[in-house]
């Protein structure tokens, strides 16, 4: 709701207002230095536009490509597999080797996710005077802010605005489709032995809500809590989701495990499904595609047409 209000405001005033952390700089021209406070609370100063960027997360890689800034990307992680063009970029190795690799690449910006970049890496980059931008995405608004920041850093404010407008359109289309729908309760099985699910601070939790679902672990402690099977039985989820990539089949092992509790609504109705983690777990430009896919699982009756409102867009986003 909040983000939508901001969009309307942006359309009316013609000025981008997403960069709430540094609104004064959003109007500055590309030659001005960029200063902002990132999601880790660190001051980040970019003396000029970034041309050599290292992405430390698949979602960041996707965002940069969606902003048409793929040429400025000089290295990505092992997990960055989208868009296909990103596969041609040099890939970073593990831990300390990666720090050396990074410094040798002489980047003018490194972008990673809060909690995923080790403190030693952060220190090494600071010593080498390489700007590091750390992002944390829990909501759609966070993703919009990141788009703005990356747009500013690469001098692609117009692309950033266009991407946000596009995402807002997708959000609206999805909200239209799901209007008045009764949320279905969802158990997301991050791991089954022991049972680990997703807590309210994760992006997946947010995505489940966007897709017309209600995470039964909304009150759990921690981002990836080990969860009580007793609580699952009492909450009686309508749908049980398993993360996967590649073969989108619920494994026999998982089916056997859950069929031991035939009273569960999800088991009785056979509503066990696999969702693609490559899309679900990435707060990037495909987030509403992920939400749409998820909504198709949670509310198949509402989502009969599978086509996303993406067909009219060319470029970075599929």
């Amino acid at each position: 709701m909040f983000a939508r209000g901001l969009l309307v405001l942006a359309l009316i005033t013609g000025s981008p207002v997403w960069a709430t952390a540094a609104p004064a700089h959003s109007l500055l021209g590309p030659s001005e230095p960029l200063e902002l406070v990132d999601d880790a609370g660190r001051a980040v100063v970019l003396p000029r536009l970034a041309h050599r960027i290292i992405s430390l997360a698949p979602s960041v890689t996707e965002l940069l490509y969606a902003l048409d800034a793929g040429d400025a990307v000089v290295a990505v992680t092992q997990a960055c597999n989208y868009p296909p063009a990103a596969l041609t970029k040099p890939r970073l190795g593990f831990a300390s080797a990666a720090v050396e690799q990074m410094i040798l690449l002489e980047p003018d910006l490194v972008v990673g996710m809060v909690g995923m970049v080790k403190p030693v890496t952060i220190e090494a980059l600071e010593r080498a005077k390489i700007p590091l931008l750390l992002l944390e995405a829990r909501t759609v608004g966070d993703v919009y802010r990141h788009i703005r920041w990356l747009g500013q850093a690469t001098g692609r404010l117009v692309d950033a605005d266009r991407l946000i407008t596009h995402l807002e359109a997708q959000r609206e289309a999805l909200a239209d489709r799901l209007r008045g729908v009764e949320p279905v309760s969802v158990l997301y099985v991050q791991n089954d032995r022991p049972l680990v699910t997703v807590g309210p601070s994760t992006f997946i939790h947010q995505l489940i809500q966007l897709a017309g679902g209600r995470n039964i672990a909304a009150l759990a402690t921690g981002a990836y809590p080990q969860f009580s099977l007793e609580a699952v039985l009492m909450a009686d989820p309508d749908v049980i989701l398993f993360p996967g990539s590649g073969a989108m089949q619920v494994s026999d092992e998982q089916r056997r495990f859950w069929s031991r509790w035939p009273t569960l609504t999800a088991v009785r109705r056979g509503r066990l499904a696999v969702v693609d983690t490559d899309v679900m777990d990435r707060p990037g430009p495909r987030l509403f595609e992920a939400a749409w896919e998820l909504a198709a699982v949670l509310h198949p009756d509402r989502m009969v047409e599978r086509a996303t409102p993406d067909a009219d867009r060319e470029g970075g986003v599929r």
Binding site: D192, L195, A217, A220, P225, F227, S228, A231
Partner: protein, 342 residues
Amino acid sequence: MTRRWSPAWLFTASALLLGGSILLALGWGSVAIPWGAIPSLFRQWVSGAPLSPPAMVLWEIRLPRILLAGLIGGVLAVVGASLQALLRNALADPYVLGVSSGAALGAVVGGLISHSLHEANLVLFLWAFGGSLLTLFILYRIASVHGLLPVQTLLLAGVVINAIFSALVLFAVAMVEPSRLFGLLSWLMGSIGSADYRIVGLLFVYSLAGLLFLIGKAEQLNLLTLGDESAQSLGVEPERLKRLVFVVTALLTGAVVSLSGMIGFIGMMVPHALRLLVGPDHRVLLPAAAVVGAAFLILADLLARSLLAPTELPVGVITALLGGPFFLVLLWQRRQGAIVSE
């Protein structure tokens, strides 16, 4: 010195403790089930009618888990007591000696090879058994001097083996895809996850056999605590006895770790406390350790699953938080005497 409890009184007390723990654990958990409702839920269960959710929680999740925790706790306590007799040191414990981490490493390797860390299965068990046996073998080879086992070397070797094997498990953690991380980490932290009656039944028969074997050797273990030579002069073959007990404890540890990961310190705390109460006679100590170890892990698991409900803690965290300080207190009490010999 405190007055020792008679065996009859001890077994009555520990049976009451175990029964009380089971009842407490049945009525308490992330889902509140009043004790008053248990009898009617029990009738529903035995009648064979389709179970209501509370009955399902009680009989299909909570009870098998309580039984599994009890079996695992009992086995760990008995294994600890046996190793202590063998090594003549009250600080010995499958966790401290690295036998658990050997089993955990075996299970992780087996799980990665067979692509199944999810279910309790024979492959995991065999690998875990192999890991714990290998650890005991290495320990024995490194620490034995002229066929004897000086305890200092043994404990130090155990500590180092523990570090190496834990590092190898962490190496596996660093290398696998993130989606399998939780399964791997659970081996390191130790948790009683879901249980079913089939597993509980198998483990019961299996561990009962191991336990009876060890109790059968109780008298020889008693003699062994007098020293290898004295034992030999009294008709015990110390090396043969050690090998047998090592293999049986490895079999038991492997089974338990393949089901629950590394749960520490029970094998040290429970026998130690019992020795203060009943003295060092293994004919009493071993069965008492089984019962009290069972009650102890049932209560620790009760804490693990209800402290932050519906989030669960790994029970290994609870036992380590209790056991670590206990270990330190023991070391402190002995700091003036020799720590590693009697």
